[in-house]
């Protein structure tokens, strides 16, 4: 064997820290190490080669802990090639930019599919199994907190309130099923005209919303929308989806700063919220038609709500491009009002 086929490297015996400059070669199925004071001959099966990782030195190690440290990558590759050695598939993947690019594309695709389809589906399945007592406790806590900080007792006429709740209870749901709910009224100067549903089925209507219209049917349209949230378990689903999104964002961005992770998480969750609003609108439209009422009732109310809030806060987006105070849709928890109204008017 010629000296040209030998690879110059460093040898360590595993017992002392002394470095021995040696050459490594292969002769009839044996690895041969030669140098000053070193002479080894081991069968190839008993020799291990570390994977190639960029420019880092590679180890050719023996069973007793001794090893050669090789920096001449091309010479070692040629030597290994002659013995029929092949890099593992992971190493070959790691050394190719094309594979890295494909890897990113596949990871991104998996994440997007999970975000768009798998997670909403899984949250829907899981929401059905959340015990009613847990939903009840969670909703009661939320209402207590709201009552303490945001809401005040209703000043609306008790007759109108009772009348509205009774009218709503007489409506039947699109699929005819009974959905446990309770309509409550509160004054909310901080929030303004609004209505919202808690997962337990408690629907809260603000006095300010009642003041927007004299037509009870329009309020019933809003209640049908809120019942849609209850029927589809949007509250529980949103909690489940948000936890997964939050966990993922925290893991991906690392524990850099809670603020930095909160912003992308909120943006990602807003999409789920918009989907839920669309679903609730659709539910309301079907429920209204089912009771021989027009979806236009809700559409009119959405228009009133938007005009009342004006500035696009409190969740009602606007598609008026000239209005620089409106939030762009991807930032908002609600779809643009014009788009919602148009969807409701579609036959």
């Amino acid at each position: 064997m010629s000296a040209a086929d030998r690879v110059a490297c460093d040898y360590f015996d595993g017992r002392s820290s002394k470095r021995h400059p040696v050459t490594l070669g292969v002769e009839d199925g044996h690895a041969v190490v030669e140098g000053e004071g070193v002479s080894r001959r081991e069968p190839l099966q008993a020799v291990r080669v570390s994977e190639r990782m960029g420019g880092a030195a590679r180890m050719v190690s023996f069973a007793d802990g001794a090893f050669c440290e090789v920096r001449d990558h091309d010479a070692l590759d040629a030597l290994l090639h002659a013995t029929g050695y092949r890099d593992s598939i992971v190493v070959r993947m790691q050394n190719r930019w094309r594979v890295a690019a494909a890897g990113i594309a596949i990871c991104a695709a998996l994440v997007v599919v999970t975000y768009l389809f798998v997670l909403p589906w899984a949250a829907d399945q899981a929401a059905a199994h959340v015990p009613a007592s847990a939903i009840e406790t969670m909703s009661n806590r939320t209402l207590e907190m709201l009552d303490e900080h945001v809401l005040e007792p209703s000043k609306a006429s008790p007759e109108r309130a009772r009348d509205l709740a009774a009218k709503f209870a007489r409506l039947s749901t699109p699929d005819g099923s009974k959905i446990a709910h309770r309509v409550e009224f509160r004054s909310a100067p901080l929030v303004g005209p609004n209505a919202f549903a808690l997962p337990s089925g408690t629907i809260i209507v603000t006095d300010e919303l009642l003041a927007l219209t004299d037509r009870d049917d329009e309020i019933l349209g809003v209640l049908a929308h809120e019942l849609g949230h209850v029927a589809r378990r949007h509250g529980v689903r949103q909690v489940l989806q948000s936890s997964v999104v939050g966990l993922f964002v925290t893991w991906y961005l690392g524990d850099v700063s809670s603020l930095l992770t909160a912003v992308p998480a909120a943006l990602l969750e807003a999409r789920y919220s918009r989907d839920h609003e669309r679903e609730a609108d659709e539910y309301a439209a079907r429920m209204l038609r089912h009771n021989a009422m027009s979806p236009e009732l809700l559409a009119v109310m959405l228009g009133r709500l938007e005009r009342a809030h004006g500035s696009g806060d409190a969740g009602s987006g606007t598609d008026d491009k000239s209005n620089d105070r409106g939030l762009p849709e991807y930032l908002s928890t609600h779809p643009a009002t014009a788009e919602r109204i148009e969807a409701l008017r579609r036959p």
Binding site: G14, R15, K18, R19, S50, M53, M93, G103, I104, G326
Partner: protein, 398 residues
């Protein structure tokens, strides 16, 4: 075992033995690590997490092979199959904790206490596993710290922890949580104890940090060398006081800036509504993130310098001069690029932070390193069945 430690063999250190510097270098490149990272990420996702320990071994091998001390790389020998057992054990413990919460609060408390009680032992076996599987110039590192000392080092954190758990159980057990009034009263009664726990925790944290660092650095072994640690609790309390001072000054400045800047911007931009609000929010976020980066960098750099400047062995002297300013600048640059690239910059960020931290460390050696031999104690230990603690290959951190 102690004989090997106290008697330097073959290379008696005397006054005229030559001193030399061992240069530390980190030669990993972001683009190489990026490809390793992507392939790891993909395989972790495809195998539903099963590949995690294998990914970790690949990452450590790459980093170690690129950590050169005196031009010779470190090597990592951990067996990913052993580490998989460690991962499954961790999954079992934390999963058990998460699930037990649904069963009953008492079950959760039981699993939590079990975790807390096991933690120092798990931590010790993790440090041990890592060092036993690290080598340089063909000799393995070792870790001499024992389990009892691991518990002692973490004891200062157990006291406030115990107060939290006891206060929670004492005041909240048996309270009907659907009754808001009873719940409120119980929480109010519990509050002073929780506050006491926090105060104790803040007061004991520097001591605990010093004990943990001392435990780790005194346990490090290589050949006949055994770590020595000379920083006392006083030095860590001084650091703690400075850190709290810096945080206070930083947050007060932040508050004052906000109080001045918000009305000022209002005047400058007039009533532009959203535009002005977004600008103010953005500015505030940048300043806030800058402050957090500074505090994080200050903590990392000062603890690294304090710990390594206090570390030596019979023939080795370590020193570290990591600059807070350059680490802050690097962290901020990394954050910005991570945001711009939607996180794809992360492997580059990991590599450049490690390069900065390792580049700040210097090692001075007395005598000729070529003559060092594997410690007799270490080699018998590594081959004997005493590795039972490493059966699970628990490896935390990094």
């Amino acid at each position: 075992m102690s004989e090997a430690l106290t008697k330097p063999q073959e290379a008696p250190v005397n006054n005229d033995s030559p001193k030399s510097q061992l240069a530390l270098a980190f030669t990993a490149s972001g683009s190489e690590y990026f490809r390793i990272w992507v392939v790891n990420l993909l395989l972790i996702i495809v195998t539903l997490g099963f590949f995690m320990p294998f990914a970790k071994v690949r990452r450590l091998r790459y980093f170690y092979a690129n950590t050169l001390i005196d031009q010779q790389p470190l090597a990592f020998h951990g067996d990913p199959w052993k580490m998989l057992r460690g991962y499954l054990l961790m999954l079992l413990l934390f999963g058990g904790y998460a699930v037990s919460g649904y069963v009953s609060p008492w079950a959760a408390l039981g699993v939590f206490l079990l975790l807390a009680l096991l933690w120092p032992a798990l931590w010790r076996s993790s440090v041990r596993f890592r060092l036993h599987n690290t080598s340089w110039r063909g000799l393995r590192f070792g870790f001499a710290g024992d389990t009892a000392d691991a518990y002692k080092a973490m004891l200062p954190l157990f006291l406030p922890g115990l107060i939290f758990v006891a206060a929670n159980t004492w005041f909240l057990s048996g309270v009907d949580d659907s009754d808001p009034q009873a719940m409120k009263e119980a929480l109010e009664a519990q509050l002073p104890w929780i506050l006491l726990g926090f105060v104790l925790m803040a007061a004991l944290f520097p001591l605990c940090l010093q004990m943990i660092k001392r435990y780790q650095h005194q346990g490090y072994r290589y050949a006949d060398q055994q770590g020595q640690f000379s920083a006392g609790a006083g030095a860590f309390y001084k650091f703690g006081a400075k850190f709290i001072g810096l945080s206070l000054v930083g947050f007060i400045c932040l508050g004052v800036t906000a109080a001045v800047a918000v009305p000022l911007l209002g005047v400058v931009f007039g009533n532009t509504g959203m535009g002005g609000a977004v600008l103010i929010g953005l500015l505030f976020t940048v300043v806030y993130v800058g402050l957090l980066s500074l505090l994080g960098a200050y903590f990392t750099a000062r603890v690294q310098n304090l710990s390594w400047n206090a570390t030596r062995s019979q023939a080795l002297v370590f020193s570290s001069s990591l600059s807070v300013a350059s680490l802050t600048a690097l962290i901020m640059k990394n954050l910005l690029l991570m945001i711009v690239t939607l996180g794809l910059y992360r492997p580059f960020a990991v590599v450049n932070v490690m390069a900065l931290r390792l580049g700040a460390v210097e090692v001075e050696v007395e005598g000729n390193i070529d003559a060092w031999r594997a410690s007799a104690a270490l080699s018998t230990e590594a081959t004997s069945g005493e590795m039972a603690g490493d059966f699970f290959g628990i490896d935390m951190g990094l």
